[in-house]
Symmetry: C2
Subunit: 195 residues, 2 copies
């Protein structure tokens, strides 16, 4: 918030923005990109269409900002995780890819494959979120990225987590996922020097 206190008007504006971002993510996750418009999100957030467009001039602005916002919130939450217990860290990292935030990001990602006006925005967003997730994984797993193979081991593990997220999109894959994660935690213990 900085050193200067926000005025009530600024507070209201921030609250409106936050409501729009949260409604946008929920909308994407539930109805997909084709059904996710600024109007639908504004109504869901209880905000006028004009106010929504004041905050986010285009549909692309709204939805990329929304996915970035929730990704940042999750990063902040994970930062508080104690890094001692490897199994807990691995489980928390996999959890990043199995909830509504990943579902929303996936809808945006897949739409960007054939919507040119979305493509560049999502590529940039995913690079930023991907780098941040990788940095956080390295820190939480308490490993030294300069050691040979460590970076690629962690990257491959995060790719696996993303694949597990995809496998969870249409069915509840929890039971299988828990067995896979248990086994891969053991493999990571062997592959990565302990904290």
């Amino acid at each position: 918030m900085g050193a200067v206190a926000a005025t009530p008007k600024q507070d209201r504006s921030r609250a409106t923005r936050r409501r729009l971002l949260e409604a946008a993510v929920a909308c994407l996750a539930e109805v997909g990109w084709a059904g996710s418009t600024v109007s639908v999100v504004a109504e869901r957030a209880g905000v006028s269409r004009g106010a929504a467009q004041h905050h986010f001039p285009t549909r692309e602005d709204l939805f990329t900002a929304a996915v970035e916002y929730v990704a940042e919130q999750r990063s902040t939450a994970l930062r508080g995780l104690p890094g001692r217990d490897r199994a807990a860290v691995v489980a928390a990292l996999v959890d990043l890819y199995t909830g509504p935030v990943f579902r929303a990001a996936l809808q945006l990602w897949v739409a960007a494959a054939h919507e040119p006006q979305l493509h560049a925005r999502v590529v940039e967003l995913e690079a930023r979120v991907g780098r941040e997730t990788h940095r956080m994984a390295i820190r939480l797993l308490a490993v030294d990225e300069s050691a040979p193979g460590v970076r690629e081991t962690v990257q491959g593990f995060l790719d696996m987590a993303r694949g597990l997220g995809l496998a969870n999109l249409l069915t509840d894959d929890r039971a299988r996922r828990e067995r896979v994660v248990h086994q891969w935690t053991t493999l990571l213990e062997t592959a990565l020097p302990g904290p």
Copy 2:
């Protein structure tokens, strides 16, 4: 083809069906589910809309059959792969997830998350294709699935391959992927008893 020779009419019908299936996969991969209709595919395949609907009464019939058809073709191609070279097997399995067939399947999969008439079809299709891919991976890697942890190690590896496919959707991720696959081939060598 069975023991009885096909008539010229049956041959033509099969060729039409194949053209429709191949056009459907290319269309899904390029323009996504929203833009993929029976009419668009019929035109692309040089087939009348009526003929297309004779083969595939609904849009869901056409696109699920198309993804299944190409998945089967890839399985057949992989069956010829010699299982001796682990690195080659790992690379071939990862390749399943980085081309147009995976892009098409992904579009269908993500659309199914919020299209009820597609959901059950895609769940069933993915279960069938997933089981077949897993069986093939076990055979090509020449591992014994009854040994503790082997099934989950292979499943996690296929989840990783799926995640690598997703990472390749919007950008050419080949250079990073090759480093990750190289490292994980080494880790899998340790985790899986050799052939």
